[in-house]
């Protein structure tokens, strides 16, 4: 089943009179339960592609279908709704809300989805357990290490049972040990829950985890390989 389908997607950024073509006619499909890496040098369009799949941005041209819904036809609030229930994000910077505890950070998307307190509590505890953070539920982000913060971020991304999780350089700010731990967690969740993972990276140690590797260069796909 297709989770995301992009057809001839182009994204042009205009700064003053200068136009930068970040993506140029990309067409691709992401199937359910994929564990896909978007690779390529800096400026190749990896992050732009993730942002478009994540409905954080709109393409200049082309069509993006997410979970059978045409994201290019949605307004700002409709895209927020689509993100809320369908897409999870893990960012390069440890993007937790600093005023909330680990528990509350994971709970926030569930609150936005209108889940009841009992449902929320069970789900949050399960997720924190799955990323081995149960002992830190009441810690705020500034009381956690980078690796711990990123594990909470993964738990948060998974909280609403999204169809797809998009991770932008999730290990870039982590040391090797923590980076591997995060990748192992994501891989295990992918295998256990069949959640689709797409992560942008240029770290060869991360790429080795991917089942499918899409290579970008200058805004176009130059390679797409799947390992057995």
């Amino acid at each position: 089943m297709e989770v995301a389908k992009l057809t001839d997607v182009t994204r042009i950024y205009k700064i003053g009179e200068v136009e930068t073509r970040a993506l140029n006619g990309i067409s691709m499909t992401i199937e359910e339960a994929e564990f896909t890496a978007l690779v390529g040098p800096s400026g190749s369009g990896k992050t732009t592609l993730l942002q478009l799949i994540g409905c954080l941005d709109k393409p200049t041209a082309g069509k993006i279908i997410i979970n059978n819904e045409d994201a290019t036809k949605l307004n700002r609030n409709q895209r927020a709704d689509l993100r809320k229930g369908t897409i999870g994000f893990v960012f390069q910077f440890f993007a937790l809300i600093p005023t909330l505890t680990a528990y509350e950070n994971v709970e926030l998307p569930l609150l936005l989805n209108g889940k009841n307190p009992t449902e929320r509590k069970g789900r949050v505890m399960d997720l924190l357990e799955s990323v081995d953070m149960l002992s830190h539920t009441h810690h705020r982000p500034d009381q956690l290490s980078g690796g711990q913060q990123q594990r909470v971020a993964v738990a948060r991304a998974l909280s609403t049972n999204p169809k797809i999780i998009l991770a932008d350089e999730p290990t870039a700010n982590l040391d090797t040990k923590n980076g591997e731990q995060i990748m192992n967690i994501m891989q295990k969740l992918n295998q256990d829950t069949h959640t689709t993972f797409v992560f942008a990276t240029h770290d060869p140690r991360v790429i080795k985890y991917a089942k499918r590797v899409i290579t970008l260069e200058d805004g176009v796909i130059v390679g797409d390989s799947t390992s057995k």
């Binding site: 942002q51 994540g54 954080l56 941005d57 700002r76 609030n77 927020a80 709704d81 993100r83 809320k84 229930g85 999870g88 994000f89 960012f91 910077f93 993007a95 937790l96 809300i97 600093p98 005023t99 909330l100 509350e104 709970e107 926030l108 998307p109 609150l111 936005l112 989805n113 948060r156």
Partner: protein, 405 residues
């Protein structure tokens, strides 16, 4: 919503000093405005009470041609049979007291010192004399049959260096247009706390004043006090007679009425300016907060928070700031007003003409002023927070995630 409230509350704690200073700016402004308002209200109230109780009363009934500025005691300007008229007026339900008074101009002389005064003849038994009786500093009040006694104000006694039992010479302009002179003994010294008034008036029994000035059985006016001054118009209408002029306190003290209205407008304008400046502090705090949290706003939008929810977050933060600032401001403003309502602020004789002011002004805080200022402060703060909240809610997720404002 509860999470938004928790987040908003905790966000204020991120830069505690800045939040406290912003709330404090609002507190200081509101406290200042509350105190200013109480001070103004106290000044007007004191002036109104002093003027009405001592000078004008709530209603004055005079002969048609009487001119209160000329103080003439010529019979054609005076009321005949004032006791009878006063008794009829006092029979009205709304009237607390009606008493005849005779006002003549004169000069007090003690050795080589002279001072121009108003000579006021009063019915010593009338309760309208309460401000003078209550304000007695020394001696005793007049009695109806006293033909030589006189009451003078404390500042006049000080100026002339005289005391109880001392003799003074008093010159009076008589109804015949001549001048008469007589010696009087000081029976009492009073203070109404209005120096300008107290140094320019002497009191004697009306019978003596009539005999001394040649006014015979006449009076300058009937001094009327009502149970409720708001009834003045109705009572004046009931007393209307072609042979009399009947004036209400508002007509006699138009300057006070204008002052009251002006004072309300002044507080409104001052309040708008002060709270407007405070609002810029709040806007600045919230804008700084928005810019500092740009990336966080990007994260919140990426997990599905809508613009309206982000706007609510900042509006709730502003509400907390406003609530804290207003609560503290109310407390300080109330405390200042209560303190200066008890001890007053001494100004002495301000030399203001046209109105009577006490030497000490007592702050008087009304619930209406407090509510008005509190609501104004709250509304201005919330209005000021709309722009930063909108700014946050309209951020593009992609740009916000990259920390671009």
């Amino acid at each position: 919503m509860s999470k938004i409230i928790i987040m908003a509350f905790r966000n204020l704690g991120r830069n505690r000093r800045r939040s406290i200073l912003s709330a404090l700016a609002l507190s200081v402004s509101l406290a200042l405005l509350i105190f200013m308002s109480a001070f103004n209200r106290g000044q007007i109230r004191s002036s109104m009470e002093t003027t009405l109780n001592l000078d004008s009363g709530h209603i004055q009934v005079r002969a048609t041609d009487y001119d209160p500025d000329k103080l003439s005691v010529a019979w054609e300007y005076l009321l005949e049979n004032p006791e009878q008229a006063a008794a009829q007026i006092e029979a009205l339900d709304q009237v607390k007291v009606a008493t005849p008074r005779l006002i003549a101009s004169g000069i007090v002389s003690v050795q080589d010192q002279h001072s121009g005064v108003k000579i006021m003849g009063v019915d010593p038994a009338s309760i309208a004399n309460a401000p003078f009786i209550d304000g007695l500093v020394e001696g005793e009040f007049l009695t109806a049959d006293d033909r030589e006694g006189i009451l003078i104000g404390y500042p006049l006694a000080e100026n002339l260096k005289i005391g109880i039992g001392d003799q003074i010479n008093l010159l009076v302009n008589t109804s015949a247009g001549s001048v008469d002179e007589q010696s009087f003994t000081i029976r009492g010294i009073f203070s109404t706390n209005s120096t300008a008034y107290d140094k320019a008036i002497v009191l004697m029994p009306i019978a003596k004043a009539q005999a001394f000035s040649g006014a015979d059985k006449h009076a300058s006016f009937i001094f009327v006090l009502l149970h409720d001054r708001d009834d003045a118009k109705a009572v004046a209408a009931a007393l209307k007679n072609p042979n009399l002029q009947v004036e209400t306190w508002a007509e006699m003290n138009d300057i006070l009425v204008v002052m009251d209205e002006f004072s309300n407008a002044f507080i409104l304008i001052l309040g708008s300016i002060v709270l407007g400046i405070t609002a810029t502090v709040i806007v600045n705090t919230l804008i700084m907060s928005v810019f500092e949290r740009t990336r966080e706003i990007g994260v919140l939008t990426s997990i599905g928070m809508k613009g309206s929810q982000i706007m609510s977050l900042f509006l709730v933060e502003a509400s907390f700031l406003a609530a804290g600032g207003i609560a503290f401001g109310l407390l300080v403003g109330w405390a200042l007003s209560a303190y200066y309502g008890m001890v007053g602020i001494y100004f002495g004789d301000l030399g203001v003409t046209g109105i009577l002011l006490g030497d000490r002004i007592y702050a008087y805080l009304t619930l209406e002023d407090t509510i008005k200022l509190t609501i104004t402060a709250l509304v201005i703060t919330l209005l000021a927070s709309i722009y930063p909240a909108l700014l946050a809610s309209r951020m593009e997720p992609v740009e916000a995630l990259h920390g671009k404002n």
